[in-house]
Amino acid sequence: MDDRVAREVPELTSQTPTGMAVPPERRKMKLSPINRRRWQNFKANKRGYWSLWLFTALFVLSLFAEFIANDRPFMIKYDGGFYFPAIVTYAETKFGGEFETAADYRDPYLQKKIAEKGGSIYWPPIKYSYDTHNLDLPTPAPSKPTWLLTEEQCKSVVERKKLSGCRDLEYNWLGTDDQGRDVAARLIYGFRISVLFGLILTIISSTIGVAAGAVQGYFGGLTDLLFQRFIEIWTSIPSLYLLLIISSVLVPGFFVLLGILLLFSWVSLVGLVRAEFLRGRNFEYIQAARALGVANSTIMFRHLLPNAMVATLTFLPFILSSSVMTLTALDFLGFGLPPGSPSLGELLSQGKANIQAPWLGLAGFFSIAFMLSLLIFIGEAVRDAFDARKTFS
């Protein structure tokens, strides 16, 4: 039965012409009712809604990683002036040091120099960046989280630095990896790079995929046939092996990896968008637009694309999570980002290599699992929000 039966159509318009007395009023920018309803539906899915906020908050926080975990303080008051080492690189001589090289603020010598002039240093919560080697490790790297250390283990460092006990050490909240780098700092930076990479990959590959699908679906016929055969051949290439080969030839940087993954990821949306366009091009309002003489490109953009966007948006969170997964997998295998970059995949592979240091594997596993779960929850909520038949009461 048709659902229009139950819905009452309010009598909104009078059937009588009311003349030209209506002043032209401009419309306000607001969500169309259909989108408002979707937003309500999205909010009704509490888990997805909170996941979205949590994920956004984490992502925004990680964008400011330099102010959370850094081996440079974010501000120094020195000699009546203010310095912002997190943003600007200063020479050591600025603070009374001897060398023209960049200042190493973790160096007790420099800290003493600043203190002598009555300056004060404002550190971020974590005093390590992703590539800072902790030189005062009490145990051989990988070293335990500081709060798990026994006084016995701390003794050497405590004595050398003339501290009173383990509590006074600089904390490695999640321990260090096998090169003495702080795991918490690497997680924050690794999360940022994963999400950024995933987002960029998703956006570019979706744009290409939607455009390709739109052209195929709208024009159909021979264009569609040739394009489909090409995609079939293209997707039958075993992409992972090709990725391994290419990344052993090219120096794998952020953008090289992005380009390589893009080669294969754009096809994921093509079929979906193509089907939407094939279906949509025979709608009566598309026919009507054609009868008005509206150009093909305009029809595709104004009328058909919004239809396809529903399907696309529903898939985006899932594509994002699979992009993150791909990068993590490559990093894990050692074919991903260049050595030294903070990456979740690399953390996992360290965890595998150092079973005796479970904090590596656990930190990597939980952060990846948490991030992907958030994305999947968001994706589910988006999918439900766009489902016209689903009603939330």
Binding site: M1, V5, A6, P24, S32, I34, Y285, A291, R302
Partner: protein, 542 residues
């Protein structure tokens, strides 16, 4: 009364939508005696289907609920009956046939299997006796050569035959009450007449009661004994058909009865210039077979049609579904490719490229059948109407454009203040007005109207017909009016063209043609449409 087979008392149905309860049916009471036909008439959304479905408890519970009421059937209270008991009633004592025979039949099962399933479920009948019963049923509903049809799939049958199979399934267990939910709305008029005749015959033979749901008063008059008129979930009037039709009491019933479109067609204009002309126009779709996709034949959707319409006239094109009338309209507007010259205002438009065609598009417009599909749901109606202006008058200032939109809305009788709303906020009739506004905002000379009234309720149909006629007079428009509804065509067309299987059967001035149809097919078509009479075998499709 105790003699009633079905007694519905003070029945209400509510639907819950985003936390709010909405009453779809509000305190409806009626009864059906054995062997009697009761019709429920009303516009779409008046709650007639919901009423019928709640008799069988087929509504989507718990979204739907019954705040009040009782349904008594043969001494049982159906609303209180648990699901497993009501299943025994469904398909056995009460059966239903729906509007759309294609979607009501499982496309993957043969006819034999579909009917056999019902026999198995309710009577445990299998094997030879079941087959015998199926054949008996099929011949009862008038399917020729039932033995050959047993192995057929639904798509191999015509719409009328599918509906006959549906009826055979409904009758399989000789029910006491048959609910027919708009069983003929999706069918052609000639087939509709046959199905109605069949239902009437079967009813008398099996002595069963029938609850007939329809929006068509002509059918009510033909088939029903008593009628209940529904408006907004309430029965506003009920009584014997004779009485209601001759002495209606409620103003709504009176309005419904008066809703017939007034016949006042545009006069013939023998002196006026020819606006559009085709000569032997063909739209053939190739049938390709084999590995090399060789063209082995053609589906001749439009096969050699010549038309010529003068300014200010309306050419009505009538025919059953599949006769090629819509294809002809699209081909004339060059929305699908065709062969044969098309001349518009003295200029050949056949063969022009998309861009070369654009200047002509301003003068030739189209209004489609489905008011729900013809407007993009994501654009406000101001955007919908403006779109043509962007293409054809790109240099208009924002204010001028707005003024033209307002003028177009005024012309179609809509409040211009509503122009920032979205299509779903309007009713079907209002949407159709918006579609007309989109066409007239460009000040066209020629408009193709492709069944513009078919999806609308009777009352609204008459309003749209009046609107179209009014616009034609004021702007000296030329119409090509495509419809299967002869009453609407009679109200508008100055000339008439009858099509069948892509070919022209008959053509001429509408007045003459309606009075003296020459071919048997046209006669059968008119008889079916105006009197719901069936034609002798062979003239029309079965």
């Amino acid at each position: 009364m105790s003699g009633a087979l079905l007694e519905v008392k003070n029945l209400s149905v509510a639907f819950r939508q985003s936390g709010k309860e909405m009453l779809a049916v509000d305190g409806v009471s009626f009864e059906i005696k054995k062997g009697e036909t009761v019709a429920l008439v009303g516009e779409s959304g008046s709650g007639k289907s919901v009423t019928a479905l709640s008799v069988m408890k087929l509504l989507p519970y718990p979204t739907a609920s019954h705040p009040s009421g009782s349904v008594h059937f043969k001494g049982q209270e159906l609303l209180q009956l648990p699901e497993n008991k009501i299943r025994a009633v469904r398909g056995n004592d009460i059966t239903i046939i729906f509007q759309e025979p294609m979607t009501s039949l499982n496309p993957l099962h043969t006819i034999e299997k579909q009917i056999g399933e019902i026999l198995l479920l309710h009577g445990g009948m299998t094997g030879e006796p079941a087959k015998k019963r199926i054949l008996e049923l099929l011949s009862q509903v008038g399917i020729p050569n039932p033995e050959e049809r047993l192995g057929s799939y639904p798509h191999q049958l015509s719409g009328g035959q599918r509906q006959r199979v549906m009826i055979a399934m409904a009758l399989a267990n000789e029910p006491d009450l048959l609910i027919a939910d708009e069983p003929t709305t999706a069918l052609d008029v000639t087939v509709q007449a046959q199905i109605l005749k069949l239902l009437k015959e079967l009813q008398t033979r099996l002595d069963m009661a029938m609850l007939f749901i329809t929006h068509d008063l002509g059918i009510v008059r033909k088939i029903a004994d008593r009628v209940c008129v529904m408006q907004r979930g309430k029965i506003v009037e009920q009584g014997d058909v004779e009485r209601v039709f001759t002495k209606p009491e409620h103003p709504y019933t009176k309005a419904l009865l008066a809703a017939e479109p007034k016949p006042d067609p545009a006069p013939l204009q023998p002196q006026a210039p020819v606006v559009i002309e085709t000569d032997d126009l063909k739209v053939w779709f190739p049938i390709k077979r084999g590995v090399m996709r060789k063209t082995v034949g053609h589906i001749k959707a439009v096969d050699g049609v010549s038309i010529s319409v003068r300014q200010g006239e309306t050419l009505g094109i009538v025919g059953e579904s599949g006769s090629g009338k819509t294809t002809l309209g699209l081909a004339i507007l060059r929305l699908i490719s065709s062969n044969g010259p098309i001349v518009f205002m003295g200029k050949t438009v056949q063969g022009l490229k998309f861009k070369e065609m654009r200047p002509f598009r301003r003068d030739m417009q189209i209004v489609f059948q489905d008011p729900y599909g013809a407007l993009s749901p994501r654009m406000s109606i101001s955007d919908v109407i403006e779109e043509g202006l962007w293409v054809h008058h790109p240099n208009l200032s924002e204010e001028e454009r707005e003024q033209r939109v307002i003028r177009a809305l005024n012309e179609v009788g809509l409040d211009p203040e509503t122009r920032f709303r979205y299509p779903h906020e309007f009713s079907g009739g209002q949407r159709q007005r918006i579609a007309v506004a989109r066409a007239v905002v460009l000040e066209p000379k020629f408009v193709v109207l492709d069944e513009p009234t078919s999806a609308l309720d009777m009352l609204i149909q008459a309003q749209i017909v009046d609107l179209l006629r009014d616009l034609q007079k004021r702007k000296n428009l030329t119409y090509l009016f495509i419809s299967h509804d002869l009453r609407v065509v009679a109200a508008l067309a100055s000339r008439l063209l009858v099509m069948r299987n892509g070919k022209v059967v008959e053509e001429g001035p509408a007045g003459d043609l309606f009075k003296n149809p020459k071919s048997d097919y046209t006669r059968a078509l008119f008889a079916a449409a105006f009197n719901l009479d069936t034609a002798p075998g062979g003239v029309v499709n079965q």
